[in-house]
């Protein structure tokens, strides 16, 4: 009986981490403190696949090549008379390949093939999206026992997080990152070509120390003038003009931020992180604060459990944008459902008018029922507030939240059962109910000012990890 129980827990924990590549990836923008799925990153693929959690990968031992693929198909329906989201009869084949001709250069290619809707007809909406990350790394010998590790990679940065996520968090980006690491300290420069608005660039300089626990940062968030081609494309896609229409692009301008953050792991399972940023150089500083605590144990008596809390405060005017121009995303795929709703993206739209703060409780649990059957429970409860910085107050409607100033709360969930019939392999079939599905246009690259669809869905999915 005891042996059976230990075996049960062993299998369960292996299964738990099977699809969560936890190898150390440089400049990893993914959230390390969550049980939501963490997807492969398009760099350091060799290191990721050599982690013990990836033993099932077919392409682990093909040096100087390596490859992996995550594929899923799924169908989604709605409860009552709601509308389906874009990805409602879909496949996504996310392939990763890397070539390492020698230690010092990796050529990484991520090819994503997808079709969001079988309802559109045979292959009508099939799409291929490619990302390339050329990663150069060099150990500079300066005579010390430890070299200075130099890295540069781009343009596919994957998920990017600045600091602990107060200013930019888990946002798919293209650009370049360059860094130098030495004795637990790191100086990192990041350039993002398009972060949250059509004509923005983000330049970040960060100095990290004490094994990444402390960071000082300077960020320049700039808006460049639109090129004539971009303006023409915007006009073509814009609604007919009305007396209330305004351009979606920001005027040429720049915002500067200075900040600091700490991330203190008290134990392997418990940590606290705090970040402060100030927008400077434009009158009085506009401040923002993030405080977060997490408990994460992947094998708590066989159960994977994460419980977290975060508080955010954004002073009115903190966001880099002026006016009520909402941020937008230009690549909207189901993988983004594994990013928390609580994200700077949700606060920046109305930052020009309102002070905002929020409390978020995050919780995930993966509970083995049988060796091949698990229960998955994900929840994120957000309670947010907004107060106008001027009197008399203005009233604004925020899509998905309602009228502000005031407060609103939402519970995002994903609950269901997951069957992993092939022992030792993470391939799985899932039946889930959720209200958190990615919002996507006809094309995944259509600009979206909402990250998630509003509705209640049930989902059947089959996933394989190769």
């Amino acid at each position: 009986m005891a042996t059976c129980g230990r075996l049960f827990r062993c299998v369960a924990s292996a299964q738990l981490v099977a699809v969560t590549a936890r190898a150390q990836v440089h400049a990893d923008g993914r959230d390390a403190w969550t049980l939501l799925d963490r997807h492969l990153v398009n760099r350091q693929l060799f290191e990721q696949l050599h982690d013990d959690s990836q033993v099932f990968r077919l392409g682990r031992t093909l040096e100087p090549l390596t490859a992996a693929a995550d594929v899923r198909i799924g169908t989604q329906q709605t409860f009552e008379h709601g509308s389906q989201s874009r990805f409602h009869g879909f496949y996504v084949l996310n392939t990763f390949g890397a070539l390492r001709p020698f230690h010092g250069i990796d050529v990484n290619v991520n090819l994503t093939l997808l079709n969001p809707s079988a309802s559109d007809g045979y292959r009508v909406s099939s799409d291929v999206r490619a990302g390339v990350a050329l990663h150069g790394y060099y150990d500079l010998d300066i005579g010390d026992r430890e070299p200075v590790r130099l890295d540069v990679f781009g343009t596919d940065l994957g998920l990017v997080t600045l600091g602990r996520g107060l200013l930019l968090e888990q946002t798919l980006s293209e650009g370049e990152v360059a860094s130098a690491r030495f004795h637990g300290f790191e100086a990192r420069e990041t350039f993002i070509g398009r972060a949250l608005w059509q004509n923005d660039d983000v330049i970040s300089l960060a100095l990290r120390g004490l094994d990444q626990r402390v960071e000082l940062s300077f960020v320049r968030w700039q808006f460049r003038e639109e090129t004539p081609e971009e303006l023409a494309a915007l006009r073509a896609s814009a609604a007919p003009s009305s007396s209330l229409s305004v351009p979606s692009a920001q005027p040429k301008s720049a915002s500067h931020y200075v900040g600091a953050s700490v991330d203190v792991p008290f134990t392997k399972t418990l940590r606290v992180a705090v970040e402060y940023q100030a927008r400077v150089g434009d009158g009085a500083p506009k401040n923002a604060v993030l405080a977060r605590g997490d408990f994460l144990d992947g094998d708590l008596a066989g159960i994977g459990l994460h419980a977290g809390y975060q508080f955010r405060w954004y002073e009115a005017g903190f966001a880099p944008s002026r006016g009520l121009v909402p941020p937008s995303l230009r690549y909207n795929v189901p993988d983004l459902e594994d990013v928390y709703v609580t994200n700077p993206f949700e606060y920046f739209a109305v930052s020009d008018y309102f002070h905002q703060w929020s409390h978020t409780v995050m919780a995930e649990a993966i509970v083995p029922i049988f060796p091949v059957l698990k229960m998955v429970l994900n929840g994120e409860y957000v309670l947010r507030f907004a107060a106008d910085r001027q009197t008399p107050e203005r009233v604004v409607y925020l899509d998905g939240w309602g009228l502000f100033p005031g407060h609103a709360d939402r519970l995002y969930y994903k609950l269901g059962l997951r069957v992993e019939p092939w022992r030792g392999f993470p391939h799985r079939v899932s039946a889930l109910v959720t209200n958190k599905q990615v919002a996507s246009g006809i094309s995944v690259t259509d600009s979206e000012t909402r990250r998630f669809e509003d509705g209640h869905f049930y989902l059947l999915q089959f996933e394989a990890f190769l």
Partner: protein
């Protein structure tokens, strides 16, 4: 900051006030007296919200105050209470954006003579039995303020960029009052500085108010209705009437003008019934033309009618009462003598 309020602020969000009601607004109103109407009683303005409940017309006023002709006056704008808003008539559709229409009511800006001096608008229309005279009402030919009847619902349908433009246009105020302009059958967002209200001695403004903006106007209506061919021509006996009238003046008579009692020469152009006089002359004849126009309204249908009378003589046979050249100046015009020349009248 003290700890307890800060904690309350952070956790309970008790410092997130939202206006319970939209804000009021104001507009400048200017009274124009182009018709030189003489007003005996004190002139006042009233912001009138017309209603209709179970077929019964009524109104409420949200502002009432003194006003002077020519000088703009700032008039407060505020919504009537919810019970009244539910019965407002007419409720119109305003195109806030090409894709968002909102129900609005355009309050009426009424200029009235406070006949009984009680500083309270009490007319004899809209179900009331008062004595105040309605001198003028705003019209559809200029943008005027309109009230969005459900501001929150309208804001809920606007994008953030459109919401920002809404606040940019109204000075950043959470107010339901916007400028609206009539174009065809539709209302569109407009811009304006002030509302001009012309005063006139006419039944039309009170009809417009009483008929809840639903007055059917005949195409000929106006305050300078084109003159039809004279209904009656009177030719001096010294002339050949048939030759003078020809085939255009079918109602033609001949008489000794010195024995005729003519219509009055005093012009009256201020009200719905107008009496106009014009003198014309050529080498052979002198013409005296009288034009009478009338605007009549009944059951929300207004129409104009006109008639004229033409007297013809020669410079040597002018009767003693002939006013041309003395009390009535000659008008130079290229129009036929039987056609009243409006331009000539305006210049004279």
């Amino acid at each position: 900051m003290k700890r307890a309020p800060f904690v309350a602020l952070v956790f309970l969000g008790c410092a997130t006030p939202r206006p319970e009601e939209p804000l009021s607004s104001s507009v400048r109103v200017r009274v124009v007296n182009g018709a030189n109407v003489t007003v005996e009683s004190p002139i006042r303005y009233a912001v009138v919200w017309t209603t209709k409940e179970r077929g019964t017309k009524g109104f409420v006023t949200t502002a009432d105050g003194p006003i002077e002709i020519g000088s703009p006056t700032t008039v407060p704008l505020s919504l009537p209470e919810a019970r009244v808003r539910a019965t407002l008539d007419p409720v119109e559709s305003l195109a806030v954006t090409p894709f968002v229409n909102a129900s609005v009511y355009r309050p009426r800006f009424v200029i009235y003579g406070d006949v009984n001096g009680d500083e309270h608008f009490e007319p004899a229309v809209l179900g009331r039995d008062g004595t105040d005279s309605i001198l003028g009402v705003d019209d559809d030919f200029q943008p005027t303020p309109a009230a969005l009847l459900d501001l929150d619902a309208t804001l809920s349908r606007l994008s953030l960029s459109e919401t920002r433009a809404f606040y940019d246009a109204n000075g950043g105020r959470y107010t339901p009052f916007v400028w609206a302009a009539k174009a065809g059958d539709g209302l569109f967002l407009g811009s304006g500085i002030e509302v001009s209200v012309s005063v006139r001695d006419s039944i039309y403004p009170q009809t417009d108010l009483d008929c809840l903006r639903n007055v059917h106007r005949s195409s000929s209506i106006g305050f300078f209705a084109p003159s039809p061919p004279p209904a009656h021509a009177v030719i001096d006996a010294s002339l050949d009437a048939k030759a003078v009238c020809g085939t255009t003046l079918t109602d033609c008579s001949s008489t000794d003008l010195s024995t005729v009692t003519p219509p009055t020469f005093e012009e009256d152009s201020a009200g719905d019934t107008q009496h106009l006089v014009q003198c014309r002359a050529n080498d052979a004849f002198e013409f005296l033309l009288f034009l009478d126009t009338r605007i009549a309204c009944e059951d929300c249908n207004c129409s104009a009618s006109a008639s004229s009378e033409l007297f013809v003589t020669t410079p040597t046979n002018r009767p003693a009462w002939w006013p041309c050249g003395s009390t009535v100046p000659y008008c130079e015009s290229s129009l036929p003598a039987s056609a009243f020349d409006q331009e000539c009248r305006t210049k004279g």
